[in-house]
């Protein structure tokens, strides 16, 4: 906690530049130039330092993951996979069921959190302005963004245990947990975006006799759409890799389940974790060279790579949508 207080705050509390600081004298000018150079190097250095682990991480994932990543891996699930042996259809199982699970559960979370989050932002900006309630809601949204993911998982677990009976595992339970994590991000980013919609637009629309609801949906939300979309995509990107809450809510199965509301669902992060937990596969003594003992870890890395690629694609889609929408509003 103490770390927050120094560093950024430094010594300047006021925004108006202190002009006396720039009184030139030959010695100070030199010292200042040197300091400027040092800070420039320092900032560049922080970047380089931070790049090392990140590059290492990406490199490890790509190098290990590329080995088993092929069409068969993407189009099969884990049924019929025994030990390190190849399956009857060839290949060593795959992540189809986990991709479907991840997409459905994330879509479910979006369906819950985006309407609520955007409407909450609409309330804050368009209706409540700076009332007491609005202040409280803003504060609590900020606080909510700090909810640990495992607490969200426990919440969904408790909710469904009380409503549907203990031992309930299904996809929508996972969606609820993820939605709780997404909601504050969606709400906050939408609020920021609505805030920067120029007031002239609202006034013009209202002056033409358009009702407030239509002004908001047709003018304000329309203008803010690109920002809302990219904010939501970032929120999705934050939750799509959550493991712990899904482990206790959505469960784990080897076959494909497309029903979000019934039965367990495997998601990619959980799949990665389960394969890591297996670590090695057993090969009977008479097994041939086609039996691979290290196959679970290879699958884990490949699934991790698939997950990262999905996130990347989502990001790209978000950017694209934002771009297309923003063009259409300028027309």
């Amino acid at each position: 906690m103490t770390t927050i207080d120094h560093g950024a705050l430094l010594d300047t509390q006021h925004m108006i530049p202190d002009i006396d600081a720039f009184k030139t004298s030959r010695s100070t000018a030199k010292a200042r130039a040197r300091k400027d150079q040092i800070m420039r190097v320092l900032f560049t250095a922080t970047f380089v330092v931070a790049t090392i682990p990140l590059v290492s991480l990406l490199w490890t994932t790509v190098a290990n993951g590329a080995k088993r990543l092929n069409v068969g891996f993407l189009t099969h699930n884990m049924t019929g996979v025994i030990g390190g042996n190849p399956t009857v259809v060839g290949g060593y199982g795959g992540v189809l069921h986990a991709i479907i699970g991840t997409l459905e559960i994330t879509l479910g979370a979006m369906a819950i959190s985006i309407p609520i989050g955007v409407m909450c932002a609409v309330y804050l900006i368009e209706y409540a302005k700076d009332g007491r309630l609005a202040k409280t809601i803003r504060l609590l949204v900020d606080v909510m963004s700090g909810i640990p993911s495992i607490v969200a998982g426990l919440f969904a677990l408790s909710l469904f245990a009380i409503v549907c009976g203990p031992g309930t595992f299904n996809g929508v339970e996972g969606s609820v947990a993820l939605a709780l994590l997404m909601l504050p991000t969606v709400c906050k980013s939408s609020e920021e975006m609505l805030r920067i919609v120029p007031n002239e637009l609202r006034e013009a629309s209202l002056a033409l006799g358009v009702t407030k609801q239509r002004t908001i949906t047709k003018v304000v939300l329309r203008t803010a759409l690109p920002g809302i979309v990219s904010g939501s995509i970032l929120a999705v990107a934050r939750v799509i890799g959550e493991t712990a809450p899904l482990l206790m809510t959505a469960g784990y199965i080897v076959s494909t389940n497309v029903n979000l509301f019934s039965g367990q669902m495997t998601t990619l992060p959980v799949y990665v974790y389960q394969e890591y937990s297996k670590l090695t596969a057993n090969c009977p003594p008479n097994a041939g060279a086609s039996c691979v003992t290290t196959i679970p870890m290879e699958r884990a890395w490949s699934a991790a790579l698939v997950l990262i690629v999905i996130v990347l694609v989502l990001n790209l889609i978000g950017r694209l949508v934002a771009k297309i929408c923003s063009v259409s509003t300028e027309r």
């Binding site: 049924t79 031992g167 670590l279």
Partner: protein, 374 residues
């Protein structure tokens, strides 16, 4: 906007529909298999049957599910390796047909099972016996594929932090042929609650009570060494440094060195058949509450030659009668297959388990027969 919303939601629905059409593909199974029809309607069994429980059984269960498919091709079986505790809790809510568990039911759980079973109380049947290896990583010894000999008291002292170096006299005396280095021992144990830990420490407690002062527990009781999550965590930790020692399921230890444990006058290296021998030499605990239960009271002090005494016995927990008759048919067929020679062989190939000894077979069959079908 509204139109857009409509098209977008339509697109979403279509997307989900597309996913649904994908559901059938992806299974790694041959399109259709001719099946040898087995007894009383097992082959015609349809529907979904879910189990949950011990993660130790996971690999074996996956092999069993595959093997069971040839008996009941239209039944879908799923197993969630959520852990013994979670598995039993789920079973006791009635949402799964069976539970896998590393430990036998408690009296309270047997009592609670009355509410889920159509009649009678749930019972446990041993299905999975896995030797627990005391595995180590020591340059020049494990890399050369050699065993280190230890008796129970030495193992207990190592894991309790009383023996801290590999060249401690207690170890070198038992290993005259080995050149043990002057290196710190790093103990690696499970950090999560685990049946493997319980079975390992109960071996120590039974055989070397004076060297192991801690109570029995599924959690590691002291601060010695390092804890790691799951068998995979323990094994990868052992692999990461020289001089480490830990305990893990035999099938997972790979090329690590293993300790040969003193049984009687000899040191027995770990193997699946050696683990079966100690189960064959162990009595069934008849003092437990409830009917039909087969709880193996592992005889850690066994002196049978060639027996390896540190084993994990994992159970399947089922009801003697189910509210749905097909659940009963399934449970009976499933247990029959799993405990059969064929099922045990499948588990041995897939997970390196020890087969159930033949002297238990009769008792197991008698219990399974108590499941009321129809």
């Amino acid at each position: 906007m509204n139109n857009h919303m409509v098209t977008r939601s339509l697109a979403a629905v279509c997307g989900v529909g597309l996913l649904a059409s994908l559901a059938a593909c992806g299974d790694n199974t041959a399109a259709s298999e001719s099946t040898s029809a087995t007894k009383d309607g097992v082959a015609s069994l349809t529907g979904e049957y879910a189990g949950a429980g011990a993660s130790s059984q996971q690999t074996a269960v996956e092999a069993w599910i595959e093997g069971f498919r040839s008996q009941a091709p239209n039944a879908t079986v799923a197993y969630n390796p959520s852990g013994s505790g979670a598995g039993v809790s789920t079973f006791l809510t009635g949402s799964t047909v069976w539970a896998g568990s590393d430990k036998a039911l408690s009296a309270e759980e047997v009592e609670r099972s009355k509410s889920v079973c159509a009649s009678g109380t749930a019972f446990d049947v041993p299905v999975y016996v896995s030797p627990i290896a005391v595995a180590f990583n020591l340059d020049g010894i494990s890399t050369a594929g050699k065993h280190v000999n230890m008796d129970a008291a030495t193992i207990a002292k190592v894991f309790n932090g009383e023996i801290t170096r590999w060249n401690d006299p207690a170890i070198t005396e038992q290993n005259p042929g080995l050149d043990l280095p002057n290196l710190t021992i790093t103990v690696v144990h499970r950090s999560d609650k685990s049946g493997t830990t319980l079975n390992f420490v109960s071996y120590l407690k039974d055989v070397a009570p004076s060297a192991w002062p801690h109570d029995l527990s599924e959690n590691w009781p002291n601060e010695v060494g390092q804890g790691a999550k799951g068998t995979s965590g323990v094994v990868s930790t052992i692999k990461q440094a020289n001089g480490t020692i830990g305990y893990a399921d035999f099938s997972q230890v790979g090329d690590l060195g293993t300790v040969a444990v003193k049984v009687g006058g000899d040191y027995t290296p770990i193997s699946a058949s050696a683990a079966s021998k100690v189960i064959a030499d162990s009595p069934v605990d008849t003092s437990v509450d409830g009917d039909n239960r087969i709880v193996v009271d592992i005889n850690h002090k066994t002196a049978a030659t060639g027996a390896y005494p540190i084993v994990l016995v994992s159970y399947d927990i089922v009801c003697p009668a189910y509210k749905e008759s097909k659940d009963a048919t399934f449970a009976k067929a499933w247990l029959t297959y799993v405990t059969s020679a064929e099922g045990q062989k499948a588990a041995q190939d897939a997970a390196g388990t020890a087969p159930l000894p033949s002297n238990l077979a009769g008792k197991i069959t008698a219990s399974i027969d108590q499941i009321k079908v129809g």
